[in-house]
Amino acid sequence: MIGRLEPGSIAAKRGMSDLAIRNLFIIPTIIFLIVFNIFPLIYSLGYSFTDFRASMNAPANFIGLQNYRELLADEYIWINFATTAKYVLVSVGGQVVVGFGAALLLNREIPAKGLVTTLLLLPMMMSMAVVGLFWKLLYSPSWGIINYALGLEDFEWLSNPEVALYAVALTDIWMWSPFVMLLCLAGLSAIPKHLYEAAAIDRAGRWYTFTRITLPLVTPLLLIAIIFRTMEAFKTFDLAFIMTSMESTELIAIRLYKMAFQEWQTGKSCALAYIVLIMVLAITNIYVKYLNKAKER
């Protein structure tokens, strides 16, 4: 940690005390976030032990762990989780490859760099729902531009159970690689030039320079990009829901949505939401540990 001010230094004697300032700066945010997240979460936790249906005016009955038992025994839920895992891997993996690759390419003197970077960022500035709609249009085998431009004829992107999930992931990659690219670019541009110069003097190969200088120095930022993208990909709903509805593309967030807002099994959906939340927390926790390690190195 860089430069922490020691409490009780000269300044603390004038104006507000350091402790007061710290509390003034931090506590409102924490309280705000607690009200906004913990309260609904407590509500949800309560519901998850009941047969509550928000669509009906009937009181909620306490049914213990039945919702959790039913969910964990439901084969479809596990398929949904497996689908989600596959989706997260493919889509975040793709974003890292494309985003990092693009950052490596852009990390040099090229004409109109600022403009090019902004243009590449455009996809992530759109609403997921709209992106989903338009990619459905682009993917159409009949009037879509993709098959027409690539000469794929009647290739089915979204109606083929084997391909649909990857097609959605491809859209996600298109939309969010720029985010990864931006973070990597920030990491790359901060690498001191003299490291490369030294490597050049040592006649180090490109591969060596890349693995020994570039990669380690970009890793922390790359990990942060991965944390945020994994969290978002795990929650993916609008995109997949709008584009296709194959059994093989039913992500856990879609299952959750259907349970909560189509079937109105409020209690059960709250239980499922908790299972999802615990999983995301666990995964993120592991990431953050890695991140802290990477930072310390």
Partner: protein, 319 residues
């Protein structure tokens, strides 16, 4: 460096620039398709095979701002004769305007949603960045018991799938009368963005050396003055980068905008897809809505582009 550049090196560089060019084309192709659809006549939006070359027109934008209804059969020639040019465009497309009792054309509501989006996104971005900066400074400069746990808690508020909290949140909002209000969405988006904002800003503030503040304190500033007069100006780059991200998120949020608003405070993202038409899919109208909606955020990002790279370090870069 230039001296050691060999011929091979130059070729390599040129190839890389060419690759960048190809990459830009690939990334922009779908955007080009959306934007070009915004200027197409409806009949050319979904032709088999797709139409690439066409004569652009502004009919989709006329439709975007007005409320229309699908006509059965052809238009009455007399009505058509009397119509203004923009009404003719719509009649040509097989629709008629919905008019109120005085014969005025009814608005589609796009413009009011657009204004709502601006009000809500700008205000919530400001709040998220401001609170984020303060909190980040607090975490960066002072000791806090359980600091890492608090930071993880702040991050974890972003992990919830919105569906999890949607129902209780809605009931909460209903109880305090925040449903379908601007304030309601502003608070919500501020809460969304805070985690990102705190994390980004903390990384940035960590890198600002404390010597300046300490010098200021020695000069007789209070800690508060030192923060506002010395630290805040140095955070400009981080603030700009954070603002871009918060703005993008707030600008495009869909699920809660749909759940928490009816028509008064609704933003554009849930509204645009609703203009898809019913008898015939009208891609041109949602394309024009999307096109206009992309402009402000693109301009905003372009203006702040210089700060983006240096602002998103998350403190992960060692000096």
């Amino acid at each position: 460096m230039a001296a050691v550049t060999s011929k091979g090196q130059r070729l390599w560089n040129r190839m890389l620039v060419a690759t960048v060019f190809v990459l830009v084309i690939v990334f922009l192709a779908p955007l080009y398709w959306i934007s070009s659809t915004a200027f197409k006549p409806r009949s050319l939006a979904t032709t088999v095979p797709p139409t690439v070359v066409f004569e652009p027109e502004i009919t989709p934008f006329i439709k975007l701002f007005t409320r229309r209804v699908q006509m059965r059969g052809e238009v009455d020639p007399e009505v058509y004769e009397e119509a203004e040019w923009y009404e003719k465009r719509v009649l040509d497309a097989g629709e008629r305007f919905i008019k109120d009792a005085d014969g005025n054309i009814e608005s589609s509501g796009y413009w009011s949603r657009f204004l709502n989006s601006i009000i809500i996104a700008v205000t919530s971005t400001f709040l998220a960045v401001a609170m984020g900066t303060l909190t980040a400074y607090g975490f960066s400069r002072f000791r806090m018991p359980g600091e890492n746990d608090w930071l993880f808690f702040i991050l974890s508020t972003r992990m919830l799938p919105p569906v999890v909290v949607a129902i209780p949140m809605f009931l909460m909002y209903r109880a305090v009368g925040l449903v379908d209000t601007h304030v309601g969405l502003i608070i919500l988006y501020t809460a969304f963005n805070l985690s990102f904002s705190v994390w980004l800003m903390k990384g940035f503030i960590d890198e600002i050396p404390t010597e300046y503040e300490e010098a200021a304190l020695v000069d007789g500033y209070t800690r508060m003055e030192a923060f506002f007069k010395i630290v805040v100006p140095q955070t400009a780059t981080g603030v700009a980068a954070t603002a871009v991200f918060c703005f993008i998120t707030a600008w495009n949020e869909y699920a809660f905008a749909l759940m928490m608003t009816n028509s008064k405070a609704q933003t554009a993202p849930p509204y645009i897809p609703s203009q898809l038409g019913s008898g015939i899919t009208d891609w041109t109208v949602i394309a024009s809505g999307t096109f206009l909606f992309l402009l402000p955020v693109a301009v905003f990002t372009f203006l702040l582009r210089k700060h983006l790279l240096r602002g998103v370090t998350f403190g992960a870069i060692r000096k």
